[in-house]
């Protein structure tokens, strides 16, 4: 499988990374080089093999459903480029 210029633009949008027109060709080449490299996985017989979900044999731990942290909104927004009254500020989303 390989990607074309339109697919590069589509992936860029899905990834929320603006790809300028003069970058498309380079990404197309690089992504296809990587996809060409991983293509060799198709020669592996994986019939009956379970996909790995956990690299160590462990059951995901659970804990009681209770509040254990929080209550400091000013710390949460402390690194925000733009905040007001402990809210993150973004451009208007709903008209």
């Amino acid at each position: 499988m390989s990607v074309d210029a339109d697919t590069v633009r589509r992936i860029g949008h899905l990834a929320r990374i603006r790809i300028s027109d003069d970058e498309v060709a380079a990404y197309e080449g690089e992504l296809n080089a990587i996809l060409g490299f991983v293509e060799q996985l198709s020669e592996v017989d994986v019939s009956g093999v379970e996909p790995m979900t956990s690299v160590t044999p462990m059951v995901l731990r659970r804990r009681a459903d209770g509040v254990t942290d929080g209550g400091y909104p000013e710390k949460v927004v402390a690194n925000a480029p733009l905040s007001e009254d402990n809210f993150f500020m973004v451009p208007k989303v709903v008209e």
């Binding site: 990374i17 996985l41 592996v44 480029p81």
Partner: protein, 494 residues
């Protein structure tokens, strides 16, 4: 007075505990060394000299009172991937501009709890994506090693290039690092230092900037096997804040270092004999086996048939997880923000400017392999191959092998801005060919300096262990270190 930066971590720690010298004196010596070297080596992206001195004074006070932890007063460098409260934490990326966390990573908190002193934050490949430390927003780190008679700048490897260079150049007593596909072991091999990636789950990932969550593990880079054992001892341990943290007691790693290899069976996987591998690496590998045999180990030929598929499977799994983990950098919560006409525009412009080229490439590959219609063909298939890779190792261990010896890297350190490597991303990825299998299987792996190439540059050997059996790696690694008997100190030119 002796140069305190030239002591091993263990000797420094013991000297401070004995009050032969103070932590403040050691810390001042390191800060001085960093100030003199960093313009040339670029190993540190932030130096926290004032904080370091304050921590050192507090250590000295504890020691005066007869108190003190396992790393009391020892000055360390911290990879920029670890969240350090109120201190530069940017994963060497532009997109985290100005980020100073309100919290501390579990691994660094463990180190400070044992009395260690933070010298500053170490350079790395952006978001730990790279094998040469050239993808850093702060520019490449320069390897303290140079080829015989040459003055060409070499890479220190990556992604923990700053950690490896700082340890090698005596700019810290030891350093934290992380390893997703070889990011501790490859730079350790390139700089003549020791690096161990412990078993997945041994160190908490809480507070470490996430790259590929099912592969990421923290570990130390140090100048000796024993120093690396002492550091890992402090870094490791169960942490309820990381759901994949192993609820196991941490053994006394330092006690295992001199245990020897008598009676152990060392596996030699035939699939690691790569076409075009330099003869000196093949020779070193053979030499390593002879050293282990001479100390009483048995060598056994083994097969890990899916080895060649580990790297391609990695380049699906790791970017897929990265594309998900890096979705959080959006110009809203922290770091860089580039304004746009609407929210999508803001996201796209921020991420286009904030991420470097390698990071964008991997996020895009990850986005593609997870996108509708391709998920089964790429991601699910890669996870199935990963099951097979892990089974290869399980079969070898079930067949009586205690540890596996391989080369650490397919070459010694290469030049900065190598045209050949930059023309094709896959060529750079091949640096991790011997290390990436270990992450895919969640196993522990250690790189130990074992010899030098024709240029006099360090070469490393890698030992791979059973899950949670880092002790055998320290014991066998120590045999390699002792048998090699070489000085892995770079000649100072900086």
């Amino acid at each position: 007075m002796t140069d305190l930066t030239r002591l091993s971590l263990k000797d420094l720690r013991d000297g401070i505990a004995r009050k032969d010298f103070t932590s403040l004196e050691a810390t001042d010596a390191y800060v001085g060394a960093i100030e003199a070297a960093n313009d040339k080596l670029n190993a540190y992206v932030a130096v926290t000299a004032d904080q370091a001195r304050a921590m050192a004074k507090a250590s000295d006070e504890r020691i005066a009172k007869g108190e003190g932890g396992a790393l009391e007063g020892v000055p360390l460098g911290i990879k920029d991937l670890f969240a350090t409260k109120g201190v530069h934490t940017q994963a060497a990326s532009h997109i985290l501009d100005g980020f100073k966390p309100e919290y501390e990573s579990t691994v660094t908190a463990n180190l400070w709890g044992d009395g260690a002193v933070m010298l500053g934050k170490l350079n790395m490949d952006e978001f730990a994506m790279g094998s040469s430390n050239e993808t850093s927003y702060y520019g490449p780190v320069v390897n303290p090693w140079r080829g015989a008679g040459g003055n060409k700048d070499l890479v220190p490897g990556g992604s923990s290039g700053g950690s490896a260079a700082a340890v090698s150049a005596w700019l810290c007593a030891g350093a934290t690092a992380t390893d997703t596909g070889g990011s501790i072991r490859q730079p350790a091999a390139f700089t003549g230092t020791v690096g161990i990636k412990p078993t997945y789950g041994r160190c908490s990932r809480w507070g470490i900037v996430a790259f590929a969550s099912s592969l990421d593990q923290a570990g130390p880079i140090a100048r000796t096997v024993e120093d690396s054992a002492i550091l890992l001892q402090s870094m490791a341990g169960f942490d309820p804040k990381d759901s994949t943290s192993a609820e196991l007691a941490v053994p006394d790693f330092a006690a295992a270092v001199e245990r020897g290899v008598k009676g152990l069976t060392i596996g030699v996987p035939k699939e690691y004999r790569m076409d075009g591998m330099p003869e000196e690496i093949e020779t070193l590998w053979h030499q390593g086996l002879e050293w282990l045999k001479a100390e009483g180990a048995t060598v056994k030929d083994i097969s890990l048939p899916h080895t060649k598929y580990a790297l391609p499977a990695y380049y699906i799994v790791a970017p897929a997880e990265a594309s998900s983990n890096l979705a959080r950098y959006d110009g809203v919560k922290y770091g860089l923000r580039v304004s746009g006409k609407d929210i999508t525009d803001l996201y796209e412009l921020t991420r286009a400017e904030g991420f470097g080229r390698e990071v964008k490439r991997r996020v895009m590959i990850g986005t593609y392999v997870l996108s509708a219609g391709y998920y089964d063909a790429y991601y699910v298939r890669a996870q199935k191959v990963r099951t097979l890779i892990k089974k290869d190792f399980e079969d070898a261990f079930a067949g009586g092998v205690d540890a596996i010896l391989t080369p650490a890297t397919p070459s010694a350190a290469f030049g900065i801005a190598d045209q050949d490597l930059h023309a094709d991303p896959v060529k750079m990825y091949l640096n991790d060919i011997f290390t990436v299998t270990v992450n895919m299987a969640g196993l522990p792996g250690i790189a130990v300096p074992a010899g030098k190439d024709g240029q006099g540059l360090p070469l490393g050997l890698q030992l791979i262990g059973k899950p949670f059996d880092e002790e055998t790696l320290f014991a066998a690694g120590r045999v390699i270190e002792k048998s090699a008997g070489q000085d892995f100190t770079p000649e100072k030119w900086w």
